[in-house]
């Protein structure tokens, strides 16, 4: 369990590529710079897609966790 306090949450459980990244792009547009978005995913593709997306877009992947087929990412908006 992460200690990071997220400002908002995006649950993409059950969705597969391309939707988690499509939804992540939309969710990030709705939050302010410096705020943290918690992303829940079950698509294993997000394990590579979300870190790569953060690197490209300049947002910070603060932490990621996984267990029981569920992935959690904490992304801070630049």
């Amino acid at each position: 369990m992460s200690d990071i306090k997220a400002d908002s949450k995006l649950d993409t459980s059950g969705k597969c590529c391309p939707m988690p990244i499509v939804d992540l792009n939309m969710a990030m547009k709705k939050i302010n710079s410096g705020e943290v978005l918690e992303v829940i995913a079950t698509d294993p593709g997000t394990l590579t897609d979300i870190p790569s997306w953060c690197q490209r877009t300049g947002h910070t992947l603060m932490e990621s966790e996984q267990g029981d087929g569920v992935m959690q990412f904490y992304v801070k908006k630049s």
């Binding site: 993409t12 059950g14 969705k15 597969c16 590529c17 391309p18 939707m19 988690p20 990244i21 499509v22 939804d23 792009n25 939309m26 997306w53 490209r56 877009t57």
Partner: protein
């Protein structure tokens, strides 16, 4: 990636999914995506053609199952709805190849409003494909 050009030749529900999913990914991220529909695929740029896309050949009997899986994955199960979702990103342009449009009966009257028009392949290849950072053919 700043720009992506995609040429779509293969029609059929399942065969259109990959180029559309790639375009959706990149369009949502802010990449300028330009798609040229050629050959039979041009019919997907009409409302009737988009709604009529089915899985063909040896997988035809799995059409319903695939649509359920697509919906479960979070995508609209109808090709025309996917086209509309891509357009809503503001970064995706659809073009119909003029030769294909002429052969397969697509014109300005039946072209979906989400399409940017019927264009010559030369224009697309020179102004979009050759200028794009990445180009894909499906």
């Amino acid at each position: 990636m700043k720009s992506l050009a995609i040429v779509v030749r293969e029609d059929g529900y399942d065969k259109l999914l990959t180029p559309l999913a790639f375009a959706y990914l990149q369009g949502a991220e802010g990449t300028q995506v330009d798609l040229l529909f050629v050959n039979w695929a041009v019919k997907a740029l009409t409302e009737e053609g988009a709604k009529g896309q089915v899985i063909q050949g040896s997988h035809a009997d799995q059409d319903g199952w695939v649509r359920q899986q697509v919906e479960k994955a979070g995508l609209p199960p109808d090709i025309y709805d996917v086209i509309q979702a891509l357009k809503s990103t503001g970064n995706v342009n659809f073009y119909a190849c003029s030769l294909a449009a002429s052969i397969f009966g697509v014109n300005e009257d039946n072209l979906v409003p989400e399409a940017s028009g019927i264009v010559g392949a030369s224009w697309f290849l020179n102004e979009k494909a050759s200028q794009a950072e990445h180009c894909q053919y499906f």
